[in-house]
Amino acid sequence: MERILACVSAAPSSRNVILKATQMAERTPARVVAVHVQSEHDTLRARREREVYRGEIERNLTFARDNGAEIATLSGDDVATAIIAYAELSRASHIVVGKDENTSGRRSRRRPDVAQRLIAETTQIDVHVVPGDPSDYHALPRRRERTGLRHVPRGLPLTIGLVGAATAVSTVLRSVGFTDANIVMVFLASVLAATFVGGRMQGIIASMLGVFSFNFLFTEPRFSLVVYDTQYVLTFIVMLIVALITSELLSRVRLEAVISRRRADRTVAVYRLSRALLTASGESAVIDEALDQLVRYYGGSALWYGGDPTTGAEPVIRLPHRGADRVARSGADGGPDSVDHDREVAVWAYRNARCAGAGVAPFAACPRFFAPLVSSAGVLGVLAVAITDAADGATDRAADGAAEQRTLMETFAGQVALALERERIAHDHEQAKIEIESERLKNYLLRSISHDLRTPLAGIAGSAAVLLDADADASGALPHVRELAADIHEQANWLAALVENLLSLSRIESDSTGIALTAEIVDDVVGSVLAKMRRRLTQFRVTTSLPDSVVSVPMDAGLIQQVLMNLLDNACRHAPAGATIDLGVAREPDAARFTVTDSGPGFTERDLDHLFEKFYTGRRRDGDSARGVGLGLAICRAIVEAHGGSIDASNTGDGARVCFRLPLDRAIASREPDETDEPA
């Protein structure tokens, strides 16, 4: 299936992009993948921008998800490069991008538009540019709450202490006779220390306090804030700048550390899960490990709905404190109705094969996030965890942001789905092996028994024939002996035919690789069948028809001979003596059609429905009048189908007709005789 990439950013045009991509996907069956590129820049500005636009991006991604798109979050320094790389990797045929795809506002002016770059740098992929609506753009919130401010009250006493200490040290130094420059150094040190311990705000406060106390205590006139010497003004400014720069640097380093720790945490969590899943064997073990890891990472309880949650089966719930594994009767950490509500979300997630809950429509209010395990064979079940919102702020995980938690959960779900699928395939494989083994044994038994039956049957039939013959010479002296011999002869021959049928059947069924086909001339097969059946057919009027040209059909001659013999035998059995039996072969464009028609009573309605089923005999089985075990036509069908052909039965109005077709396209090319061979 084709893939259409929809480039999603914070810009409102992203919605248009998504709608456009969805429209395109409807026209040509395609899948829409909403791509969002997360900048890898860890400058404060980049981070701030991310902070500011995160809400918009999430909203847009949710919009994409609701429109049935898959979500892919990429990371990279350069948006256009990342998108192109992903598009090539995922073999996307179209990229839809908004005109103002640079969400970052001011910065964009220095760089070419993403859309322009996509157009310039792709060759195989169609790029569609969707105009944005600039009026919406300005409606975006420009600034959000700055990080760090919250920490002011905690750090203030420390900052005051530090500046106080610097003041004390400076007083001592001044009394010993150090110059102003050295004293400024001490204050700078205190600013550094304050920034380091308390962050940027503390640094600014410290530098202001420092400048204040330096001015008040150490510059002339002392004990006043009046500055006589303009040189000191520069000192203040420098101190302030140093404090700001230091704090900026420090906070950057610190944020970096936090981010990389979170990233490492996520990586470790994913790694831990995949390792745990790798060693887990059996479906329940996989689920067990998955729940363990989810509880470990998300802190809250984790739920597993195996199979279809609509069946009403209770979910497996794993609580944060280990060992309390149980089936929920009431809500584990929700209200009493939370189980029912959870089920509703789970059912939705299962049916739609999409994530739901915890901020994702249509169950945004649900505290749990439900991720379906999507495999190639459909949805295997639904995993759920509680997503802690950043607002609660209790855990470090929460600070990660709900979006990251959800993304990670989707990653987890993908891994678990893979592991489950692996387990199922392994299980199916095992099952198939057992079945093949038992099938082989069955066929082996059937074969060896049939083989052993053949020889004695030949003996019985031959002996009966000799007996029949001998009696004929004795000119009817013992009529009952002749009758018995005829019966024995007939029955033995019938049994022998049955054995041949069984052998053919076991041969087709045991040969999974298919039967060996050789090109046979239709004439040869028909002729040899009629020769074999000659004695049987003497009481009937037999007509034949062949195609005008010599037709060669790829077949297993022995098996097709068996089919024709079974069909003729059926005709002999059901048509009255003196009836006409016609065996015809006609050439069709891509098949050879074999038809056996008799002028007997034909099939009943009921016959026609079940004719080709194993062990269907049709006529009532009173005594031995109907001797068929009902294998004949079933074997015919098995043989014809093994050749890739088809068989059907019908009534002609004055008799029965069975017709089968063998495809010609499996032909081993037949060679016509040399045309140079002139008549004598």
Partner: protein, 238 residues
């Protein structure tokens, strides 16, 4: 009494030996029964039968090996019995010098007909080239290189004529694909079975009134072809 032909039956199945013996004795043959390969080799050497009926599935020695060993010193006809579906064995046996074969289960009448054909051929192989051959309504004049069916002239290509003559010389006997190809086309064409099949199908359309139900040119599926023996055709309604 001693002049009646001696037939050796080699088969490990007692019941088959019994009815074969009864049927053959009734036709006036003398019969020697042997149950295994070793017995066949020793009894064959000591009694020198006039014809051997040999089952390929023997308990001690492979039937093909028995056949090859006997053929080293034995020139009289050998008819092979084998299970159905083992075409390779039949071809191998015919190529190893067997005169004819029958698939189990076979009818007694069929067997007796083959035995008669074998004896007839054994009697005629030492004879010179015949000037004409007749099978039913089919008549081949080898002097004028002409063939007729009833009163109609057959328009045969030289190769078709050559094929027909080869089949007629061996009327009643099965000829394998490869032996026909070798004889009519030469050793280079020996494996082109498909070519032969198409060729025979065309020839059949010239000879037979009802090609789908042939009276003369019979197919031994998977093995080769056989021109019907004189008495086989005679028994058929025209």
């Amino acid at each position: 009494m001693r002049n009646e032909p001696l037939v050796m039956i080699v088969d490990d199945e007692g019941s088959i030996r019994t009815f074969l013996r009864i049927a053959l004795v009734k036709q006036g043959y003398r019969v020697l029964e042997v149950a295994d390969g070793r017995g066949a080799l020793s009894m064959g050497a000591s009694h020198m039968p006039d014809l051997v009926i040999l089952d390929l599935g023997l308990p001690d020695i492979d039937g093909i090996d028995v056949l090859r060993t006997i053929r080293e010193w034995y020139a009289a006809p050998i008819i092979i019995l084998s299970a159905r579906g083992k075409d390779h064995d039949k071809i191998a046996a015919l190529d190893a010098g067997a005169d004819d074969y029958l698939s189990k289960p076979f009818s007694v009448g069929e067997l007796l007909a083959r035995v008669r054909v074998a004896f007839r051929h054994a009697a005629s192989t030492d004879g010179a080239v015949r000037s004409d051959m007749r099978v039913g309504d089919l008549w081949i004049d080898t002097v004028r290189r002409r063939a007729t069916i009833g009163s109609d002239d057959l328009h045969l290509t030289p190769t078709e004529y050559k094929l027909l003559v080869y089949l007629a010389e061996n009327a009643g006997r099965v000829l394998t694909h490869s032996s026909i190809l070798r004889r009519v086309w030469g050793p280079t064409r020996e494996n082109e079975t498909q070519y032969l099949r198409v060729f025979v199908a065309n020839l059949r359309r010239k000879i037979e009134s009802e090609p789908a139900n042939p009276r003369y040119l019979l197919t031994e599926l998977g093995v080769g072809y056989r021109l019907a023996a004189e008495d086989e055709v005679a028994g058929e309604p025209p």
